[in-house]
């Protein structure tokens, strides 16, 4: 028996959305790639914590990733945004660069070594933000063409009016960008937040089919949502182990 067949059936080729990175085209991965999408204060990080603990308890190696976390420029984006100087196209490209750094230096190596990679948001949030800012979806689609296609994508769908209360519970103020203030939707910050979140939600609905995004009712309690997510992930992993 050769080594390849012992190493297992879980090795598969990575699939990319568009123009793959030429030097990664034939990449082989072993792990599973799961995304939790959802607006600010929708409970993504809480859910990722819970899911990670459970998956680790079940014996899986888990790696967490997320937007704006690369060592390359993650901090730089925050600084630039704080100074309100960058244009919308510039911000998009900055995020894309930051995302690429994480994809190549963290996510792909993690998947190659057999981790379950749980990502707190992915390119869908970036594309939704760009779409509501008038950037054409074909441009965004091409830009993120180097992104690896995940195994499962969940979207925590929370009613924007409910979301406001969760944000206030968390922070006691509304974040400038999460309220879409740069879009000048309304002079009233609260109204601007709700309008902006509704626009983003609409974009997610639009992307749902193309990207196979599973919408999860996020208006429920933390444990209800967690049971829902955990069951879907377990089912997926069980199914995979039979293939």
């Amino acid at each position: 028996m050769n080594i390849r067949s012992i190493k297992g059936k879980n090795i598969r080729k990575g699939i990319f959305y568009g123009h793959a990175i030429p030097y990664l085209e034939d990449i082989e991965i072993k792990g599973k790639f799961i995304i939790i999408e959802g607006p600010d204060a929708s409970g993504r990080s809480t859910q990722i914590e819970l899911l990670s603990s459970k998956l680790e308890a079940d014996g899986h190696a888990v790696l967490n990733a997320g937007l704006r976390r690369s060592e390359l420029i993650g901090q730089g984006i925050l600084e630039a945004k704080r100074n309100f100087v960058l244009g919308r196209r510039t911000i998009s490209l900055f995020y894309a660069a930051d995302f690429a750094d994480q994809l190549e230096n963290k996510i792909i190596p993690g998947l190659r070594s057999g981790h379950i990679v749980l990502s707190d948001r992915y390119i869908y949030t970036l594309m939704a933000r760009e779409a509501v800012r008038g950037i054409s979806s074909s441009w965004s689609y091409n830009l993120y063409g180097f992104a690896l296609r995940p195994d499962i994508v969940f979207y925590l769908d929370v009613d924007p009016n409910e979301l406001v209360h969760r944000v206030f519970k968390k922070n006691s103020y509304l974040d400038y960008y999460e309220s879409g203030t740069d879009l000048r939707l309304s002079d009233n910050m609260l109204e601007s937040f709700v309008m902006y979140q509704k626009l983003l939600r609409k974009e997610f609905k639009r992307m749902q089919k193309r990207y196979n995004i599973i919408s999860i009712n996020g208006n429920r309690s933390i444990s209800e949502i967690n049971q829902d997510l955990q069951k879907r992930i377990d089912d997926y992993l069980n199914l995979q182990s039979y293939i």
């Binding site: 990175i21 196209r89 800012r133 441009w139 091409n142």
Partner: protein
Amino acid sequence: MAYSKKNTGKNIPIKGKLIVVEGIDGSGKSTQLRLLEKWLIAQNMPVFFTEWNSSETVKQITKKGKKSGRLTPITFSLLHATDFADRYERNILPLLHAGYIVLADRYVYTAYARDFVRGCNPNWVKKIYEFAMKPEIVFYFKVPIDIAVDRILSGRPKLKYYEAGMDLNLSNDPYESYRIFQSRIIAQYESLSLSENFTIVDGTMEIEESQRFLRSAVLKLLPLSITKNIRGSTRP
């Protein structure tokens, strides 16, 4: 959606002119563009000069990445696109709207050439820069590789890692790597010069001679009402 329709500025007419120089390091393009700038300023034309990779905001952030040598072809490409977008959104486009003559020392073609050499998908790169308007004229400074490389290397400068194309593993010797890297860039420029309709400038000509050529070409792009007064002043 929200302000896309009314506020993207797509309907504002471009009154200015965008003039670009391209070519490898040592081809003489920057010297020529600076002389062109001096001339236009002397004619009281509103001029703005912009250089590749010079956005202050972006540079602060990318310096770290370049220093650490952790850039891949994709991140390298995207950081340069970010730099370009910042200069485009904040300087180039508004100034063109305002009627300026914008002089760009390198434009999207530099990104094309370098990114293609680094192995990025050409369609991917081109689509990213789709938002950039086509220049009025692109001067491509064509010069034999040995002359350009000698001009740059004669002072034995310390070549930076990415500048020498060391990330491509062409050679362990930075100077040798630089030479191979530049010759590959030239090959990309050559094929772009046809598809993108470059105006070719012989980079081995005397400085004055090249400048006369540039000035007369630029003069043809300016409105007649302005050029009446400038004619005859193209001699450097």
